[in-house]
Every structure is written in structure tokens, then in C-alpha cells.
Subunit: 351 residues, 3 copies
């Protein structure tokens, strides 16, 4: 529980210039949506489409911008960016780091590894030789950490995460269940029609404040390293190929695949189900919409897209067939323009 | 082993009006395909394309519709829907619930959890505090069940499944290996170019009779819950974002991604590799073909598609380039129509 | 450590006709990239785009073709296919099979299973009844092997791999973390609008020398088996549906999905994020580029593609809208051609 007064003070300690309108002693216990909120709940208005629900909310308090403050029927916390303020408040109300440090008796920890006394290794984990786990780390049940891998402070592996050997993970990372980091990249040499495995001897290096979603995979480098910079956020079921480099504060939505040796800039926003070809470079501040296919480098910031519209199947099928005739149509169009110009010229000369 | 007589009786107990043609004492031990079947095998004819194999089958019995009964060279079970009847028969011949209840000594079960005496917790599982597991549940090796999660009767987690805290799973669910339910949704607030995690405090609620394929992921809600209704069937490597709602008896094929807060109706059939954008609604009884991109709401039942045809690479490349000129082509076409009309009008007036 | 002399001798034992230019006693300890290499490192030049870095490399030796040998500023190993030679050399320098055989005390192994004395079962593994594990196998931490599954010699499961019951795995396979083999296929019968599960009673059969990437899934057959032939290489997060058959020495990149009963030929190369519809056949030696949608059989070798170009969002949107008008545009184009021909004919007759 936090009083509204305490919330506003904490926000201001974070530099928010938050303003409290209403009862400073109101007790806040949970977060909720505008429509679902009741006594003890704080909520927020981040998008105009939800404004219709503001007047009837039963929340104890609403975080809003100054322009919406008058419409709040209860206590208000006024800030410039309600979504960011909400994220802070929720993190205070729902702290996850409620573990007691130590090593669970059902964990298997190699004696040559170094586990900080303020870290927690849960049941059925396997920690291999030479691993280093810093203070504040939480290694959830069923995780496997391969030889010589290192974890920075306050990193959290939720459960059933696999980190392969020689991986370097920074501080305050959050790796969700089923994540695999450091598996071999897809390196093959074609030997007279048969594929020969090319040993993958590079590593994966993750910076600080990174989140990796459930069942996502980040492959180790073929020779050099695969690198993910600070603050990168990856959703679920994402594939990051060997020797990819992802710039700081880039976010990637679910089911996107990045092929080997692609270089992605900083502050990019990449949608879900996107395919990014290998050995190309994407500039900083690039946005790519969902299901796009990135097959060439992108050198300028901006929003990029590919893909086709959803249609009723019968209509789609008619248009779909025409796609195979598109080059032919373009040539016929060009020819028509020439013929019509000739015909018009003829008319002209006949005048 | 079941006699054909017993099979027909059980089908009729399920309301099938099944009719037996041939030897009621024939012993059925296995299922098989029309071409692979031999002594003791039962098979079925569900699709006209397999009818060519009916005459030469060595099966002990074939499940068919009345119109194909005459063509069966062996014992026949005549029903209206052979595929559905086959599914029942196969489930009787291959019962999976052959476990002895109890807790494996190599499982780790928190003393505050409640495991029914008729449930089975296999080796290397981790069951956290406050979990409730009902009668008939099978928790396969390596599963992790987070705090306060509850499982209804006869739910089966095959192996290495992760259920995060406070998840609610109904009865008779089947969760395949690597499934992750209740990991954090992809909730981020942009704070001056850096992504701040928005705590995900909702839950995942699964109804009854749901199947989730290997390595699929269903994220917990940001504030409210992610909900999957009764009878939903999800294939492998599917991503269900936070606060998605999937209506009863909808089936989704592999590698499809559903972004946050999408609402999918009942009785939908969604193909593989489909991408569904967040915050939109899809009506009941909608079919979406594979690899489609759903970027707008669908308000009417029907079949919907997007995507382009596969072509030989050289042809594809020629048409591909024209796609960038499509708007230009459309404008030039319009202009040509106008010019030709003018020219025809001129001809007309000259007559 | 290997001397350059030893490396060349080993290559020639593999049939390479390798030629050594320079110091045969040079000691090689690691592999590195052309630009990252230093003392003790061997590297290779496989692609013309890296030739610019050859002259300034600090490597102890470079593997090159005869035509690039003169440009090497250090020791050279001259072969026909440097990438393949490099793969061999790297595998000698970085041998992974450094385990001591035995069963970890924290593994759970059913007494009815057969584990060869020269195999290794690591911590927190679960080996069920009737499993057979041959010599040289490495079963990494957290793996689950279901009833009656068999593994050929020198197969390696890295960690947290799940093999379901009755799966047959050949020799020298490499299965990365999170792989699931033998989960149920997506078999459903529609019973008056509700989906009834069809028991999946077939198996998965993997040949020899197969690699399966992290978190990929291969489903068991519905009735017959799902088959993957020798030398197939699968990247991460790939879905292989029930009863699929993949021919020998085919490679498939990440996030591709193959639907049930598809038959893929030998020596195919399939890009990432491809969707292959079920019940179709793809010939040998077919290449499919990334993100293609294969909805029809491919009967001839060649390169095939589908998909649309990436564009700036505004341009894309203009072209995107026209896609819905494409059939209409094609009809109008045809009509214009007819009208113009008529008009030209008129001009002709008037001359």
C-alpha cells in the first residue's frame, strides 16, 4: 500500500513534476483499468480512445495529463507522460524481488562456479563450471547455465531458461521462460551437396536492462560475438541469428526473425512477424511495421512497410492471380501510352 | 483390444447411430492408414482423395459413410462422420492416462500447495507455493508451476511446461512440451527514447478442453486478464499477446501471432503463420488462410486472405519491382482512359 | 593446438589436396575473422566481399583458394573450398565432446531404460521406461526423454530438450536447447462446430547427422510417421507438422513452418519465415527464398519466391490500396487495348 501523497513524492523523486489533485491520504493498493477499477485502485489515461471511460471510473485515483485533469471524477495525479508514470507506480505496488537468497537443495551447482550470497538459485537448476552469478540475481526453477557464463547484478531468469557456455549477461536483465541464449548459429558449409556444420565459436553478449520474451532464441556468433546493447526489449518467439548486432533501446515485437550478421540501429521499433535478411544494416530510429520483409539495407530513419491487404477470399484470389501478370500489365500500359500518343498526334496533324 | 461389436456399442453410446457390416467379433488393436493397415487394425475414409486406396486395404475394419459402405472389402462401421468416429475409437485404443498417482521423489513441491491424491507430479518438477492441482492431473517431467496457479481436473502437462504465477487452467487441458503460459506481456512505455517496462499484473485464464501446442506462449494480461475460452485448440509456436480474448472452439494453426488486446470470435479457423494486429475484433465463424496479415477488424463471417503467389524467382522479381509502381500504373491507366475517351469523342464528332 | 603442418595433413586425410605456403611449424590455437585475427589464429576467405580485408590480416594463417593465395600476407592453406576446410579445422580446434561418461546423481533414470556406459546423462534429466541411449551420447541438463525412445551413437542433446515417447533418433544428431520432438500433431475432427482431438499415434523418425535449432518442434505422425532424412539441418523456431517427410541434406532457416503431410525433396534450401502448406510435394534441389508462401506443389528444381518489396510507409500505403484494385485494373487495361485497337482501325480506314 502507498498513499497518493507517497506516490506523488516518489514520482517527483524520479523527476516527474507530478501534481496531486484531491485527497493526499487516499490509500492505493493495486492498479486497474479505467473501467475495472474500484476502491484502492489507481489507473491512468494514456490514449484518447479511452477518454470516454474517464468520467465513470470508480478508481481511487487516475494519472492524467493536465488537459484531462478537469474530467477526472476522483483524485488525480497530473504528469506529462501518464503511461511512464503508471509504469513506475505499478512497479512499486507489485515488486517481484521477494525471494530469500540462497541455493535450493534441489539445485545442482558446480563447485567451481561463483554464486553471490545475495543471489537465489531455485529448484532443479543446473549451474555448470566456472559460472559467475552476481548479487540480486534470481535463477528460477529448471534453468540451465552453461560453463563460464556470467550474469550481472539483479538479473532475473524466470524459469526453464537455457544460457549456453561463455555467454555474458549484464545487469537487470529479465529473461522469460523458455529463452535460449547462446545456442549454435546456423553455420553450414556446402560440401558437394551435403551440409557440413561450421563450429560456432563466438559468444552472445547482452548489455544491461534487457528483456527477452518467452521462448525467444539468440544464437552465439560464428566467429565474433552476437551483441545486444543496453535497454533492448524483445518480445516472445523471436529469433536473433549469429553475429547480429542490436543497438541500444530498440524494441522488437513477437515472432520476428533477424538473420545472421544483420546490424540493427538504436531506438528502432520493429513490429511482429517481420523477417530481416542477414548481412544488412538498418539505421537508428527506424520503424518497421508488422509482417514486413526487410531484404535491403535501410539507411534513413523513417517508417517502412511491406505486405498486402486482407480481403475476402474470392476478391483476394482474383487480385492474387493478377500479381503474376503485373510486369506484363506494366508493359502493356506503356505500349498503350505510346500507341495513344501516336493516335493523338495523328488526330493533331489531321486538324 | 476392443471387438468391433464393442466399438459400435461405444460409438452408439456417444450418439453415433453406427451400423456394423461384417464380423462383430473382429478384434481391433490399433489404428492405421488405409494403405498401411493389416490384421487387428481399424482405419477410416474421410476424404474422397483417399477412396482409390479403399478397395485394396488389408484393415480389419474401415469406418465409412453409407455411400462408401459397398466399396469396403472388409468389415465396415458405417457412420455419418467417419473422422469424428475415428477420433473416438483411437482415443479408446490409445489411452494415455496410464499413470500411477503420487509425487515423484525427485519433484519439488512446496508444502503450501495442494496436490490431489489422484494427481501425478513427475520427476524434476517444481510446484511453488499456493498451487492447487486437481484430481487426474498429470504434470510431466521438468514442469514449473508458479505461485497460486490452479489446475482443473484431468489436465495434462506433457513435459517442460512453464505456468507462471496466478494462472488459472481449467479441466481436461492438454499442454505440450515447452509451452509457457503467463509470462509478462510486452508492455513498454517510451520515456524520452528509452523503454520502461510496464509491470504486467493481469493473469491468464484458460477454460476447459483446451490444447496448446509445443513451445507456444500465452502472455498474462497487462491489467486485466488474457482469456482463452473452452475448446480452443492452438498448434505449436503460437504467440498470444497480453489481454487477448479467444472465443470458444476456435482453432489456430502453427506459428501464428496474435498481438495484444485482440478479440477473436468463437468457431474461428485461423491458418498458420498469420499475423493479427492488436486492439481489433474478429467476428465469430471467421476463417483466415495461412500467412495472412490481419490489420483491420473483421465484422462478418467468411473466408479472408492476403499474400502473394509463389513464382519462379526471375518472374517474381520482375513482378515484385512493378509493385512499387502500382499506384503510378493506376494513375496512368486512369489518364489513358480519359485521353482515349477524348480521342473517341473527337472521332465521333468528325463523323 | 595444432601446427599448420598437422592441419594440412588432416585436411588431406579428408581428401582436400591442401597445399601449405609458409611456415609449417606455425602453431594454431583458435579461429578468428580476417579482421579480428591475431597470433595463433587461423582464418579463411570464402567470399569476394571480404577480400578487401585480406591484405591487412594479422592471422597466423589463412585458408584460401589458389587464385587468392598470392594476396595472403601470412601463411596460407590453399584448398578448393575454404569454407568447408575451415569447418573441419574449427571442429578439430573446438572439440565439444569433453564429457566424462556416466549418470549424474541428480538425473532420474528409469531402471528399465538402457544407457550405454560411454554415454553421459546430466543433472535434472528424466529418462523414462524403455529408453535406449547409445555410446557417445550426451544428454544435457534438464532433458526429458519419453518412453521407448531410442538414440543412436554420439547424439547430443544440449539442454532442456524434450523427446516424446517412441521417437527414433539416429547417430550424430545435435539437438539444441528447447527442441521438442514427438509432441502431438495438430489433428482435429470437427464435430458440429466443436473440435475433437484426433489421437496422434504415429512417431517421429530422425536419420543421422541432423541438427535441430533451439526451440524448434517436430510433431509425431497422426497415423504413420514424421520422417527427417540424413543430413537435414534445421535452424531455430521451426515447426514441422505431423507426417511431414524431409529429404536428405535439405536445410531450412529459422521460423519456417511446414504443415502436415508435406513432402520436401532432397538437397533443398528453404529460407527463413517460409510457410509451406500441407499435403503438397516439393521436388529435390528446390530453393525457396525467405518469407515465401508455398501453397502449391513444386515439381521442378529452381529458385522460387513470393512476397512484396519494403517501401517507405507512405509509398507502400498508396501501392497497398491499389492491390485491391488489381483485377479491376487488369480488366480496364484489356478494355482500353480493345478500344484503342478499334480507334486505330478507324483511323486506318479513314486514310
Amino acid at each position: 500500500m502507498l498513499t497518493l501523497q507517497a506516490i506523488v513524492e516518489r514520482l517527483n523523486a524520479q523527476g516527474f513534476s507530478a501534481q496531486l489533485l484531491g485527497n493526499a491520504d487516499a490509500e492505493i493498493r493495486r492498479v486497474a483499468s479505467l473501467t475495472g477499477a474500484g476502491e484502492g485502485d489507481i489507473t491512468f489515461l494514456a490514449h484518447a480512445r479511452f477518454k470516454k471511460d474517464l468520467g465513470s471510473t470508480h478508481a481511487a485515483a487516475v494519472i492524467v495529463t493536465a488537459k484531462d485533469a478537469d474530467a477526472v471524477p476522483t483524485n488525480a495525479v497530473v504528469v506529462e507522460n501518464p503511461h511512464v508514470a503508471y509504469a513506475h507506480v505499478a512497479s512499486w505496488l507489485y515488486s517481484e524481488n521477494d525471494f530469500v537468497p540462497g541455493i535450493h537443495p534441489a539445485a545442482t551447482v558446480d563447485p567451481t562456479s561463483t554464486v553471490h550470497a545475495q543471489a537465489w538459485i531455485d529448484a532443479n537448476c543446473t549451474i555448470e563450471a566456472g559460472v559467475v552469478i552476481a548479487a540480486g540475481c534470481y535463477i528460477g526453477p529448471g534453468c540451465v547455465i552453461g560453463k563460464n557464463t556470467t550474469l550481472g547484478e539483479n538479473t532475473r531468469l524466470v524459469a526453464n531458461v537455457t544460457l549456453c557456455h561463455d555467454t555474458k549477461i549484464g545487469c537487470r536483465n529479465l529473461l522469460h521462460p523458455g529463452v535460449v541464449i547462446g545456442a549454435d548459429g546456423f553455420g553450414l558449409a556446402n560440401n558437394k551437396g551435403e551440409w557440413l556444420k561450421v563450429p560456432q565459436v563466438g559468444r552472445v553478449i547482452l548489455g544491461n536492462d534487457i528483456e527477452v520474451g518467452a521462448n525467444s532464441t539468440i544464437d552465439r556468433g560464428a566467429i565474433g560475438d552476437t551483441v545486444v546493447e543496453d535497454g533492448v526489449k524483445l518480445d516472445n518467439l523471436i529469433q536473433i541469428g549469429h553475429n547480429v548486432h542490436i543497438g541500444a533501446h530498440t524494441a522488437i515485437a513477437a515472432c520476428t526473425a533477424v538473420a545472421g550478421s544483420a546490424i540493427i540501429g538504436r531506438h528502432c521499433a520493429i513490429g511482429g512477424c517481420v523477417g530481416i535478411v542477414g548481412h544488412l544494416e538498418i539505421a537508428d530510429n527506424v520503424t518497421i511495421t508488422g509482417m514486413s520483409h526487410v531484404s535491403q539495407a535501410i539507411s534513413k530513419p523513417g517508417v517502412y512497410s511491406s505486405g498486402t491487404p486482407l480481403e475476402e477470399n474470392a476478391t483476394w484470389h482474383r487480385n492474387f492471380i493478377r500479381l503474376k501478370q503485373l510486369d506484363d500489365m506494366a508493359r502493356r500500359l506503356k505500349k498503350l501510352e505510346r500507341r495513344l500518343a501516336a493516335s493523338e498526334h495523328l488526330d493533331e496533324t489531321k486538324k
